[in-house]
Amino acid sequence: MEKFLSFDDITKSLENRETDCKAIVNYYLQNIQTKAHLNAFVEVYKDSALAQAAKVDEKIASGKAGRLAGMVVGIKDVLVYKDHESNASSKILKGFKSQFTATAVQRLIDEDAIIIGRLNCDEFGMGSSNENSAHGKVLNAADETRVPGGSSGGSAVAVQANLCTVSLGTDTGGSVRQPAAFTGLVGIKPTYSRVSRWGLIAYASSFDTIGVLSRNVRDNALVMEIMAGTDNFDSTASKKPVPHYSELLHFGKRAKIAFITETIESEALQPEIKANTLAVLKKLKEEGHQVEEVHFPLLKYTLPTYYILTTAEASSNLSRFDGVKYGHRSPNAHNLESMYKLTRSEGFGDEVKRRIMLGTFVLSASYYDAYFTKAQKVRRLIKEYTEEVLNKFDYIIMPTTPSTAFKFGEHRNDPVAMYLEDLFTVQASVSGVPALSLPNGTDSKGLPIGIQIMANSFKEAELYAFGNYLMELNSN
């Protein structure tokens, strides 16, 4: 029988002395072994997790345990953890061991969470299927012939298959929300700058966020409130105070909700997802909430804007992988330039190279204004429009993804078709606002469907409370 399906379960079992942290870790270790073929974990920190568990057990015994005592967390392979390896699922970072720990991870450890291992993902977070990984593909536990989504595919499957309590992912254009939708989980992309990016191996710095995947809203809210907040190591991190999201989950008001015609009427949208989304809107109306249709004619421009800006930022961020300081260095180089070129050509996968090439092109002198500056202007329009809607309405609701989990190799030869998987998630990323994906039933094949709620910047508390309400409403 599955155990420890929520942190609440764990806390109660600990309080009743039915279990201890060591037993909890051993339970998950056993599950990880049984489900090893899913390939969610890149590395399991058996020894350090058990050592940490013993320490937390002592703290519990002496009444000094932190707020996450008993929570077992998996972290995406793009977050660094002192004295442990991180590869960003790339050959170019083979063997890299971090000298420090990401702020987000450290804050969980400081509250006595136990880090059980690192999780597979698309290389540097670039992908929507977890197929672009030097560690191999991850299988969706709902149907093992299908992708788990990406880029945080391992983070999603680890929680889906109960290999840890919650996991950390990162979301640049949908990389937490899309896999959450494909695996039936709760996944958040917080407001840009809400969580420090210190120790997150960068993909696109003006989009990157650290998010949480969990089985319920409360666990998600609790982890987020502990991770979020100002940090001396990331000057972009917001200094705004962080509310206790997990204590503000009661939702007792009438909400003003917008839905975007262009998402509901999108040709790419699977009919069952449309039906389930409309059913939620109908229920909300029946409950007395105000639900209104709005138009967003810029929707189709969000993805091209996203790709120009993120590839540009990636080409710059990934220039640090030169074979000098860490990771792979080509043994075949005869001078400095050939060391750079061979190291990078051998170390990066195809999708990463494609994005570096595209980013270098849009930043090159002759094309900078036509592509990069143009996209920065359209980004402003998209952000302003989104904020304007969210000033009039409390929430925007839309499907998280156009389709449910697809088969491996389905988009192998068409990068643009793969990019379109993120059609509904990039609006929040381009605008910087927070968005939450929640499970919303299944399609006729039994594959999970996700529904996405967006709120205005720094409205995570309102987002979680409404999400929690929606989950309850949907379970009735």
Partner: protein, 95 residues
């Protein structure tokens, strides 16, 4: 925008990447396809719109200029593919 092989060569040098003949043709095709797709943005009227350059609402974040925790020499060189006791080692820069 049609990307030709000469452009692929120029851009790959700037990006410090190398492609063999087959790889260059594939990236040429992919870049052309992706650029054709992103060029939809030209349909959007952006006259008078300022490009957005930062997404954080924090401005001019200052701190005291004091020495804090830092990596030791040894820790800094920990991941070096090639090193001596003091420095990262790289192949000859000048022939």
């Amino acid at each position: 925008m049609k990307i030709d092989l000469n452009t692929v060569k120029k851009i790959s040098h700037l990006a410090r990447l190398e492609f063999n003949e087959e790889g260059a043709e594939k990236i040429q095709k992919d870049m052309t396809q992706i650029l054709d797709w992103v060029e939809q943005l030209n349909e959007v009227d952006t006259i008078g719109i300022e490009p957005i350059t930062t997404m954080s609402s924090e401005v001019n974040v200052m701190r005291e200029d004091v020495v804090g925790e830092h990596l030791s020499h040894e820790a800094g060189l920990l991941n070096a593919p090639q090193r001596d006791s003091d420095y990262f080692r790289v192949p000859k820069v000048l022939e």
